[in-house]
């Protein structure tokens, strides 16, 4: 029983990080209608940025997260204005190609600058934990979970209640009407992509705190984010939380009861199931 409880907690904590990873991807996908295949690479860049700030400048990784976010926002904004805007009206296949190209370029640049060695963001407290009854809670993972949930809720409120947020949602729902009301899609698109990149950056910093960074972690992380975005749906950031948590718990339980080698079978199996039963996501509108 204690074991099951511990495994559930592990899964939920893992799911929080998953949700944060997928949040930026879902946002960009929903608004710009671009499946950003470079999303995982942006997570990787965020990881390296936080690692640099920690090891070279001595800034605590959690304090470095806002700096990483701002840097990645600028990078995302520039990528959208300089590159993606060229193909914004093109068929989806072109945007897939261009983001895939970006992924390759970012990975190779990272190897060029940082080598293929593994890096871990490892402050002294990285392995700390505390006990809650029979359950062991890793401190950093709990903090990462709180940040992930906090950012998701903040994103939700931002989209719901601010002028820019409403502009973003309006562009996603009906671009022509949004333009008639004075929304400039150019600016909104760049802002959205910047936000997506900033979220990826924070996720990367947290990922480096609990796992390891190398130039090639991007691909698998994009795939995982993709699954979560599909499970959760693109309409609503809260759906991404549900998707992330569901995936984290299912993976952990699969590892316990079926065997750790079948985790990916479970997660991609769920993807197929959701696509069949609820194609708009668990919290999405039903058709």
């Amino acid at each position: 029983m204690d074991l099951l409880l511990q495994i559930l907690v592990n899964g939920i904590l893992l799911g929080g990080l998953y949700a944060l990873m997928a949040l930026g991807l879902a946002l960009v996908w929903g608004v710009l209608n671009i499946v950003n295949l470079a999303h995982g690479a942006l997570i990787m860049v965020g990881g390296y940025a936080t690692w640099m700030l920690f090891t070279r400048a001595g800034i605590d990784p959690f304090a470095a997260l806002p700096i990483t976010a701002v840097a990645l926002f600028a990078l995302g904004y520039a990528i959208q204005r300089g590159i993606l805007n060229l193909v914004i009206r093109a068929p989806m296949f072109n945007t897939l190609l261009i983001t895939f190209g970006l992924e390759v370029v970012l990975a190779y640049l990272a190897q060029f600058w940082f080598s293929a060695d593994f890096r871990a963001i490892n402050p002294r407290y990285a392995g700390n934990n505390f006990a809650l009854g029979p359950v062991t809670l890793p401190t950093v993972q709990v903090a990462a979970f709180a940040i992930a949930i906090g950012l998701t809720v903040a994103m939700w409120l931002f989209l719901l209640h601010t002028r820019i947020g409403r502009g973003i949602r309006a562009s996603a729902q009906n671009l022509v009407a949004a333009r008639l009301y004075g929304v400039s899609p150019k600016r909104i698109y760049a802002l959205t992509f910047g936000l997506g990149a900033a979220l990826a950056g924070v996720a990367g910093g947290l990922y480096g705190l609990v796992s390891q960074i190398n130039p090639y972690i991007g691909g698998p992380l994009t795939a995982k984010s993709f699954v979560i975005a599909i499970i959760g749906g693109l309409d609503n950031p809260l759906g991404v939380i549900v998707g992330g948590l569901a995936l984290g718990v299912i993976e952990s339980l699969t590892a316990l009861y079926v065997g750790p080698t079948y985790r990916d079978v479970a997660s991609f199996g769920i993807l197929v199931l959701v696509l069949i039963v609820r194609p708009a996501g668990l919290l999405g509108r039903t058709a």
Binding site: L13, N214, A255
Partner: protein
């Protein structure tokens, strides 16, 4: 497919004995992609060995003195690309002999190209017993058999006090790790250990929380983990954060590598592993002096410490030179037969291939103490003091 078979046919026609002034080796290894940080050992090892041997005069083929050269391609950590590149090396680049890249799953596929074309391949990157169980004649390997990686560790465990009772065996689902697990399972059984967890996980897994929680709940004393570096790294970090403290744990890959210790910092302390090679001055070498000098020269040239992958790569080139000189020719069949008979001391150890083509070297059990790799058990006796049982995580 059609084009590939055409290339193969061309390769077969072109693979006759070469009459060049230089002996050219060909290899495909990982210079980019997820395995690039281990793949680089082979590129650097081949280049280093060839430069040194050329500086000493090169290789004597019959009465002629010839130079060595190597053509290295980047397989981008992709097995399929690697196989195509070996076809290219033989058919288009017309290299004389093949060397290998990293990891058993690559060698398993690449060695079929060598065998089909009857060109020898000596490789220091694949240890899986699977590679040598297919009756191939042209594949030789300088890594000790995967099935015996934990041999010295289990021997040491029998002599520890208090003897570990419950053991967990974890392994990734790739060719190397499955071979390790198969051999280790038998060894554990023979030694009478109680294996309470025997579990396979997916290769490149990043989350070990479920396994770790099971290990904790079963109060496992010793964890033996067949893994590659990223998996080992994640395992150790998560073990600390979930407060899982077995009396000892040992990893097949990672512990002897410098970047593994750098990434983990103090958390690496206490991790056990094994290596078939240590840079000791007792290992004499005809070209490099001895293993210690080799390690110093390597560090000076490449800026990082060599580990057993590097030494195994250099040994592959040296084995070729010995074999070509013994055969007195670069004829593939003759060199193959000479390789089967090589018998010499090198910086890597005593090089002599068994009947299947694989070398047999004892593994030394090592442990990371104070950020350095310390030899613990040589296969017969303790040569260092092991930290056992491990201290609490925050005291390491």
């Amino acid at each position: 497919m059609y084009r590939a078979s055409l290339l193969l046919a061309a390769g077969l026609l072109a693979a006759g004995p070469a009459a060049a002034q230089t002996v050219t080796f060909g290899a495909s290894t990982q210079l980019t992609g997820p395995v690039a940080n281990t793949g680089r050992y082979y590129k650097d090892a081949y280049q280093f060995a060839i430069d040194r041997i050329n500086a000493e005069g090169g290789v004597k083929v019959g009465a002629k003195q010839e130079k060595l050269a190597v053509r290295i391609l980047d397989n981008q950590s992709d097995v399929n690309l690697s196989v195509r590149q070996y076809v290219q090396l033989l058919s288009q680049d017309k290299v004389d002999f093949l060397l290998g890249g990293f990891a058993s799953n690559f060698i398993l596929a690449d060695s079929s190209i060598a065998e089909k074309n009857q060109v020898p391949m000596v490789q220091g990157g694949g240890a899986s017993d699977q590679i040598y169980s297919r009756g191939y004649k042209y594949i030789f390997g300088t890594l000790a058999p995967a099935s015996d990686y934990f041999g010295s560790t289990i021997e040491a465990m029998r002599k520890l006090d208090p003897k570990p009772q419950k053991v967990a065996l974890l392994y990734a689902d790739d060719s190397f790790d499955v071979s390790v697990a198969k051999g280790t399972r038998d060894l554990l059984k023979k030694a009478g250990f109680d294996v309470v967890i025997d579990e396979r996980y997916s290769s490149n897994a990043s989350d070990f929380s479920s396994l770790l929680s099971r290990i904790k709940s079963a109060s496992v004393d010793a964890v033996l983990m067949a893994c590659h570096e990223t998996e080992g790294l994640n395992f150790i970090r998560q073990a600390k954060s979930l407060d899982v403290e077995p009396k000892m744990y040992s990893l097949t890959v990672g512990v002897p590598s410098a970047d593994f210790r750098q990434a983990l910092g103090e958390d690496a302390n206490g991790a056990s592993g094994m290596t078939a090679w240590l840079p000791s001055p007792q290992l004499k070498d005809p070209w490099f002096g001895d293993a210690q000098k080799f390690a110093q020269d390597w560090k000076k040239r490449f800026g990082y410490e060599p580990d057993y992958h590097a030494a195994a790569g250099v040994a592959a080139v040296e084995a070729y030179v010995k074999a070509i000189e013994a055969a007195g020719s670069t004829d593939h069949a003759k060199v193959r037969d000479a390789l089967a008979k090589v018998d010499f001391d090198s910086l890597y150890g005593h090089i002599k291939f068994g009947p299947t083509g694989q070398i047999d070297l004892p593994q030394t059990m090592v442990q990371i103490q104070h950020d350095a790799v310390v030899p613990i058990f040589s296969g017969e006796r303790f040569v260092g003091k092991m930290q056992y049982p491990l201290l609490a995580w925050d005291k390491r």
